[in-house]
């Protein structure tokens, strides 16, 4: 089984804030991590390999420093790492990212492609399904369990709002995974040593035969017009006085609004 796991290096968003005066991101000292959902995709890839044999390739698109995310994935046990990097990729939205990843996946070859359900910086959950569309293969999103995988066929549980669906698909297939799927393993000491020395394969736009007009900012149908800090409500009432006076004032308001 040829398995590709798509990962993304993201800022640890719990710590990203906006400066309300300049409306810009405060990113000093924000650490970079592997998108947490993607670590579950890596684990799923390793487990499939352990069951069926084959090879796990981790793939990321990003600047040269994304190499550290790939090395971390290698230390967990991935066999090979590919860094898609080219200045032409800069400014890609989900459409252009998915197009680029699909070109790279075609180039490498895969039976199963795994992604985290979404990245915690963008939270769009779009790149996985869009990549499947570009590859002209089926996808199943929000996988919480892999029931069975064999030559040419897979059965998984897809998380829905009201429970889950058991879904069967032909291979090749793209799966996006949720946290319930598994517990990602810790890198072993041996894995860490090997990852340090491993060679990372680099692919450029030319290597994957991508069409220039579909890449980066130029290939992106969406544009960010501006960013801003979330709104502040101005008509709020703050109650003053002792604790009891405040509580009484609140109850009076709620009664006035016919809420009680």
């Amino acid at each position: 089984m040829r398995i590709i796991v798509c990962i993304k290096q993201v800022p640890d968003t719990a710590e990203v804030r906006i400066n309300p005066e300049t409306n810009t991101l405060i990113r000093d000292g924000v650490p970079s991590i592997i998108n947490p959902y993607d670590t579950h995709a890596i684990e799923a890839g390793l487990q499939i390999k352990e069951k069926t044999g084959g090879k796990v390739t981790v793939l990321t698109m990003g600047p040269p420093q994304a190499e550290s995310a790939l090395r971390e994935a290698l230390s967990m046990g991935a066999d090979e790492a590919v860094l898609l990097t080219d200045r032409a990729f800069a400014g890609s939205d989900t459409w252009a990212t998915a197009y680029t990843l699909a070109k790279a996946i075609e180039h490498i070859g895969a039976d199963v492609i795994l992604c985290g359900k979404q990245a915690i910086d963008g939270d769009t959950a779009q790149v996985g399904p869009e990549t499947a569309e570009f590859l002209d293969i089926p996808h199943i999103a929000y996988i919480r369990k892999i029931d069975d995988i064999a030559e040419g066929r897979i059965v998984v549980q897809r998380l829905m709002d009201d429970g889950y669906d058991v879904v069967e698909s032909s291979l090749p297939v793209l799966l996006t995974v949720v946290r319930e799927l598994n517990v990602p393993r810790m890198p072993s000491l041996k894995g860490k040593m090997a990852a340090k020395k491993a060679e990372i394969r680099k692919l450029s736009a030319a290597d994957i035969g991508a069409a220039e007009e579909s890449l980066g900012l130029k290939g992106s149908p969406t544009q960010v017009r501006n960013i801003f800090a979330p709104e502040v409500k101005t008509d709020r009432k703050m109650f003053e006085g002792t604790a009891e006076e405040k509580v009484d004032a609140l109850i009076k308001e709620l009664v006035g609004q016919k809420c009680l």
């Binding site: 719990a14 017009r225 502040v232 709020r236």
Partner: protein, 395 residues
């Protein structure tokens, strides 16, 4: 559009460097320079004390867009029941269509013609309805084939869908196929007065910032919206509209749903339907604090919510979580106790009619969105509130 720096005016003061959220301004030969990672977000435009930063329009900006008109809403159903978000999208779609002077159409796969009529009463002028067996259960490929075919045939300018497990799974396939811009989880949709483009506002970076997204050159402009974010429109029993039957020709599916298992927890359903929610954060300090909230919730007949911080601490199960990575709720009253108000939480509850914030820290951001605020210790305030509400209700 391009953003440029006039090198003659630039004094090398570096004040623009920090303004760039994407690290796209660098110093070169003591002058600022914009690199190719620029996202044209315009954050730097007004920060230069010398006015050296300016924008220019490129010829490609005026590129003719493909024709198209009408606002479409993908109306989702599961087990023949139309999802509430569909009615909310019809409300939002109606508002956009009125501004554009165009019509609203709904697209319904599965369910019955009676359901299609219901969509008309909620604001659709027209419903494209496919009642075929093949689309009764959700599978990505037939849904994507059918919807992209309809869009190519009728060319709407805007397509809205719910940011649900179904919408978030197959709508991206449609966008990829049509080379259409798709913006996820929009919290506000407006029409730009000048360009008539759809202004799509969404949270990013875990909700710590908001971004306005445009699709200036492509049609349709596609967006998903989470449930309970938009308000439903007017329900009009007498509203008339057209139902256009759609057939499934040439659609294929390489996936098949073998079985559907329901696992609904009463509490999570309750949260999204609740009229009143009492919610706790890190300030509750643990299970003891949540016990007080539970008593208040009982007195109010409310459901119990929580912030991610409280869930991460293990004080309360995940199904109670409200926010970007939890549930989006929109009750009549939301009482936030010991919740700081990180945007991650706020995006999940800001459409509540009345927000009551109780927090020790007068600087807590939760007060920025509160209707009523009490600065104080929740261990003192909450039990007092519970007691007085019981008295007021004569319990």
């Amino acid at each position: 559009m391009l953003i440029k720096i006039n090198r003659d005016k630039c004094t090398g003061c570096e004040s623009c460097i920090q303004s760039c959220p994407f690290d796209s301004i660098v110093m070169k030969d003591e002058k600022a320079e914009i690199t190719e990672t620029c996202q044209f977000c315009r954050s730097c435009l007004n920060v230069c004390p010398e006015g050296a930063i300016y924008e220019i329009e490129e010829a490609s900006d005026k590129k003719e867009k493909e024709e198209g008109s009408g606002v479409w809403v993908y109306a989702e159903q599961r087990d023949g029941v139309i999802a509430g978000v569909s009615f909310e999208l019809l409300g939002a779609g109606r508002g956009l269509a009125n501004k554009l002077g165009t019509e609203v159409s709904a697209v319904l796969f599965g369910a019955t013609e009676a359901d299609a009529r219901e969509l008309i009463r909620w604001g659709a002028d027209r419903v494209y309805h496919c009642g075929d067996e093949l689309v009764r259960t959700f599978n990505d490929e037939p849904y994507a084939d059918l919807l992209s075919g309809l869009i190519q045939q009728y060319r709407p300018e805007i397509v809205l869908a719910g940011a649900t497990p179904i919408g978030r799974s197959f709508i991206p396939r449609v966008a990829a196929r049509l080379k259409a811009g798709l913006t996820a989880d929009c919290t506000s949709l407006e029409i730009d007065e000048d360009s008539k483009n759809l202004l799509q506002v969404r949270p990013a970076f875990g909700g710590n910032i908001m971004a306005t997204i445009l699709c200036p050159h492509t049609r349709p402009q596609m967006a998903t919206v989470r449930p309970r974010v938009m308000k439903r429109g007017e329900y009009d029993e007498s509203r008339q509209g057209e139902i256009i039957p759609v057939k499934t020709d040439n659609v294929r599916s390489r996936t098949k749903v073998i079985e559907t298992i329901k696992e609904v927890s009463d509490i999570s359903v309750n949260l999204q339907e609740a009229n009143v929610i009492v919610s706790g954060g890190r300030g509750t300090g643990g299970e003891k604090g949540f016990k007080l909230l539970h008593e208040l919730a009982e007195a109010l007949g409310a459901s119990l919510g929580a912030s991610r911080a409280a869930v991460d601490e293990g004080w309360i199960p995940y199904r109670h979580q409200v926010g970007q990575t939890g549930k989006t709720v929109g009750p009549k009253i939301y009482i936030a106790c010991g919740i700081s108000g990180a945007v991650q939480h706020v995006v999940g509850m800001q459409s509540s009619d009345i927000i009551v914030a109780i927090n020790k820290n007068p600087e807590a951001p939760i007060f920025n969105i509160a209707t009523y605020g009490i600065v104080g210790d929740l261990f003192e305030i909450v039990p007092m509130l519970t007691k007085k509400i019981k008295e007021a209700k004569g319990l």
